[in-house]
């Protein structure tokens, strides 16, 4: 069997870098315009672009973190996500202590209850068959994967369904569920200590599960030579187009989220914005989303915004553009076709499940899980745990029908 792409098709003579610079100019003009009339959207577009760039360079994939444990007994990405959670939590705590922003006021702290459990399981199942989570979907749309554009269609349909269906979940479940802001119950000092301890224990358990030993977590060597080689490696990652390690990705992503929290007062999130886009599209095709519970009655929607002016929508657009720019700059952009029609169907179905469940659970992997855990809200943890359960079930389905 011959491999379809030959090595000598004139590779190296292409102009992707120039297209990349053009994308950057377009983006620059866009945020310049936003800075004039919508400061919130300016900030989210600014940091969204950074998110997209970092996600593309580090290939940081939340879906892999939830799925690879079960499917290939690999915990590299899961452990990077733990580092991400730890760094972001500490950062949010510090911002809070410095008086920059009040977590309980600006953080992602939502009710935790049956809807979180249900949403988590469906979300986990959806991310395995879609092949990505919500941030991964946006990142790959920017890299030219056609499959993820189908996932995005699914996300729109699912978000609209979820926003409408909250009419049931809201009065029946969410309104009776408590918001649990952990420092209210444990105090700040204990909360941070428990966070560090829990994350360290899970880290070691995962390493032990993967390799049968935790030696590599305990043997950190600090010699001059290893310092020099890691600085050199870092230089190659940042400036010479080498893939960023998952660790560097986690550090950069958490720094970006801490900066957003500091400047904007809220952590980064995605699906709130996507749901507003879905609401706008629903209007276009003749529905009346303004009557839906999510847009009409949800108390967490601090102000009634016009659909297309929701700041998180600009964060999503920023992620797609940032990833598009990063892949062009490193000559990695390509229109990628899925291998079989089965993947198109799984992308559509998976995307719908992701959109629906992130509405029911009140957030996706980005805002709900990462932002929730880092804002010290219990719902983030519960959502995360049940994503694992859903990913386990999704993995079984995947191996049976999609491999």
């Amino acid at each position: 069997m011959a491999l379809p792409v030959a090595a000598d098709k004139g590779f190296g003579k292409t102009r992707q870098i120039y297209w990349g610079l053009l994308v950057f100019v377009f983006y620059y003009l866009l945020i310049l315009r936003l800075a004039d009339y919508n400061r919130e959207a300016f900030l989210t577009a600014l940091f969204g672009f950074a998110f997209g760039y970092i996600l593309q360079r580090s290939r940081f994939c939340f879906a892999a973190g939830f799925r690879d444990i079960f499917m290939i007994r690999n915990t590299i990405v899961t452990r990077a996500i733990l580092l991400l959670l730890l760094l972001t939590s500490i950062g949010f705590f510090l911002v809070n202590q410095m008086g920059g922003s009040d977590i309980s006021a600006g953080g992602i702290i939502y009710p935790v209850g049956l809807h979180t459990v249900f949403g988590g399981v469906i979300f986990g199942f959806g991310l395995v068959i879609a092949g990505n989570c919500v941030s991964g979907c946006l990142m790959r749309m920017g890299e030219g994967y056609l499959m993820q554009w189908f996932t995005f269609i699914g996300l729109m349909v699912g978000s609209a369904l979820g926003a409408w269906n909250l009419g049931w979940w809201g009065p029946q479940v969410i309104e009776h569920s408590p918001q649990v802001f952990i420092p209210d119950h444990l105090g700040w000092f204990t909360t941070i200590t428990v966070y560090i301890a829990v994350i360290a224990v899970i880290y070691c358990l995962l390493l032990w599960y993967e390799r049968g030993t935790i030696k590599s977590a305990l043997s950190l060597s600090f010699s001059g030579a290893s310092l020099y080689s890691s600085i050199k490696l870092m230089g190659q990652m940042l400036f010479a187009g080498r893939n960023w390690s998952y660790i560097l990705g986690a550090v950069a992503l958490s720094l970006t989220n801490i900066l957003i929290f500091y400047f904007w007062g809220r952590p980064g999130a995605i699906t709130g914005g996507l749901t507003h886009l879905a609401g706008w599209l629903s209007c276009r095709v003749g529905f009346l989303p303004c009557d839906w519970y999510y847009f009409n009655k949800l108390i967490y929607l601090e102000s009634r915004r016009i659909f297309l002016e929701h700041p998180l929508l600009y964060m999503s657009a920023g992620i797609v553009l940032g990833s598009f720019f990063a892949s062009l700059l490193h000559r990695e952009f390509r229109i990628r076709q899925p291998k079989s029609y089965k993947f198109v169907i799984s992308a559509l179905v998976g995307g719908t499940l992701l959109g629906y469940s992130s509405r029911v659970a009140m957030g996706c992997n980005f805002g709900g899980f990462w932002g929730g855990v880092s804002s010290f809200s219990l719902h983030g943890w519960v959502f995360g745990i049940f994503i694992f359960l859903g990913a386990y079930l999704g993995g079984k389905f995947f191996m049976r029908y999609l491999v």
Binding site: P4, F11, T14, S58, R59, M71, S327, E332, K339
Partner: protein, 75 residues
Amino acid sequence: MDHPIDSMGDICPIPIIKIEKKLKEVRVSDRIILESDHSCSTSSVVDHFKMKYGYPVEVIKVDEGVWQIIITKNS
């Protein structure tokens, strides 16, 4: 001997599953060459076989957004 695997258009974690399946069939010092357009696989496949199996792994970019990942079964 070299064993090519065509993984263009596959989604994660199918490239890794395909390689693991192939590794069971091939002999020591054989090479597996996976061709993929999935950018994530240049990190995930490489880390998986380097860190978990300890095999030498090499990545060659053969076109825009297409890579060949070469894994040598050394034990």
